[in-house]
């Protein structure tokens, strides 16, 4: 929370002179919104955690029904943090994608204002959805209806961002370097995850798939697609800024292919196994359920994905010795962090002075 305060104050008060809110980079907007969500969401889980620890240490009856407490209280306290938390995870990744995409599309981000408004809308809406994690607990129908509608509605601002990215690609001439491959992977995987999310927002369907592999498939599609793939794109994109050396393009492509195929091979079948009744959070299951083949193939493809991640780790370690020199701006990126030179030059340019952003600058 202290970090969130620091982000909010820093983003509002210490920008480069001349940089208005309307020209602030999308990643900065994402972090501003994320910091706001952290400020509001974290106290709920901290309180829940404290109550739980006091209950266990001193026997207080907060969540124990036998002592007059309510286990549902824990669920609500946790998930009122837990759902905004997934957007706290996603929004910075979305901001990173919005920064990287123009470099590889060779076009400015389409719909800058819409993307900003979508991020702010996600911030507010995400605090009104948490009950979709507890649909299967016997809630009254008015609660079910409201939170089902809200959970479906959040697809709108998310879709705005996805369409802005697609439009940026359409508008430009994409260059398929490794970061761009991971971004394309993110777009496809996250969209699939979002579609299953809208399915799960529908209460009767939710009751069927609750606590099954369908939910596991959905959460992995949105979290792996929505965070892990952008993180790997960002690793390949910004490592040259930090170390002055490029990561390997060929190893990166191999890593992407293995990760993409491995991920989809592991988690796409889980939609089926979930619909066929495979429970989650179990260490073993009945062999007569008929799910052995699909579960086994998921395991194999998970290891394929692991090999892809291992290749990235090897690439990161080896690039310190054999990576090609990056130059000051290897991607011809438009954003200001590339003004600083890189570690090979000791970041000396940024230490020279703070840039003044001229009037009329548009945001990319």
């Amino acid at each position: 929370m202290a970090t969130a305060i620091e982000f909010i104050v820093g983003l509002l008060k210490t920008r480069a002179p001349g940089m208005t809110l309307a020209t602030m980079p999308i990643f900065a907007w994402s972090m501003l919104v994320t910091a706001g969500m952290i400020m509001i969401g974290m106290p709920a889980v901290i309180s829940a955690d404290l109550l739980l620890k006091l209950e266990r240490a001193f026997g207080f009856p907060f969540f124990n029904a036998d002592k007059g407490g309510d286990s549902l209280l824990w669920q609500h306290l946790f998930w009122i943090f837990g759902h905004p938390e997934v957007y706290i995870i996603f929004l910075p990744a979305a901001g990173m994608v919005s920064m990287m995409l123009p470099s590889f599309a060779r076009a400015r981000l389409v719909g800058y204002a819409w993307v900003v408004m979508a991020a702010v809308a996600v911030c507010f809406l995400s605090f009104g959805l948490w009950v979709h994690h507890v649909f299967a607990t016997g809630l009254p129908s008015i609660s079910l209806s409201f939170f089902s509608a809200a959970s479906t509605a959040i697809a709108i601002p998310m879709g705005v961002q996805v369409f802005a990215w697609i439009a940026t690609l359409w508008d430009g001439k994409p260059v398929l370097r490794t970061p761009m491959l991971f971004i394309l992977g993110f777009l496809s995987i996250f969209t699939i995850g979002g579609l299953t999310g809208v399915m799960i927002a529908v209460v009767p369907f939710n009751w069927q798939v609750h606590d099954t592999h369908f939910i596991v498939a959905h959460l992995h599609y949105v979290l792996m697609g929505g965070m892990v793939f952008p993180i790997f794109a960002a690793l390949y994109y910004w490592t040259p800024l930090i170390t002055g050396r490029l990561l390997s393009e060929s190893l990166g492509r191999w890593a992407f292919v293995l990760m993409f195929i491995g991920f989809n091979g592991a988690f796409l079948p889980m939609h089926l196994t979930g619909l066929r009744g495979m429970p989650r959070r179990v260490y073993t299951y009945d062999a007569t359920l008929g799910l052995n083949g699909l579960n086994f193939s998921s395991t194999i493809f998970a290891f394929v994905m692991g090999v892809g991640v291992l290749i990235v780790l090897i690439d990161v370690i080896r690039h310190f010795r054999v990576g090609a020199p990056a130059g000051d701006n290897p991607w011809s990126a438009p954003s200001l962090e590339w003004l600083s030179g890189n570690a090979a030059h000791g970041f000396r340019r940024l230490h020279s002075s703070i840039p003044a952003i001229p009037c009329g600058t548009t945001n990319t």
Partner: protein, 126 residues
Amino acid sequence: MWDNEHLRQDIADARGYLPDAPTVERESLLTAPLTGTPKQILRLPGPGWTPFVAAAALSVFFAALTLKIVWLAVGSGAMALWFLLYWMWHLDKAYPQELADAGLYSGCRCTETTPAASARGRWSCC
């Protein structure tokens, strides 16, 4: 940078704000939240051990509660609170109100008036 290709050379030639620190300390520029207009020079705090100790004590507090070691939890919680207050108390020093040159082609462009007497680490640049 696609709109302003001269920025790289400007920065390399130190033709921006704060090309040197007027107080020879770590500084940044405070700008208006909406317009980005430079307002004041902010003197940044240096590294210190008090926030680290406060954070470590807070971690021990939560870990001790998890393990039900009550005396350790109480002690580390009190320690965390003490160091947090100590750290924040000593941040709130009143610095002398002086004018300083924020740079940018020599001469300051700030127009803000001086801050309140109790403001920490700030003074007007015009």
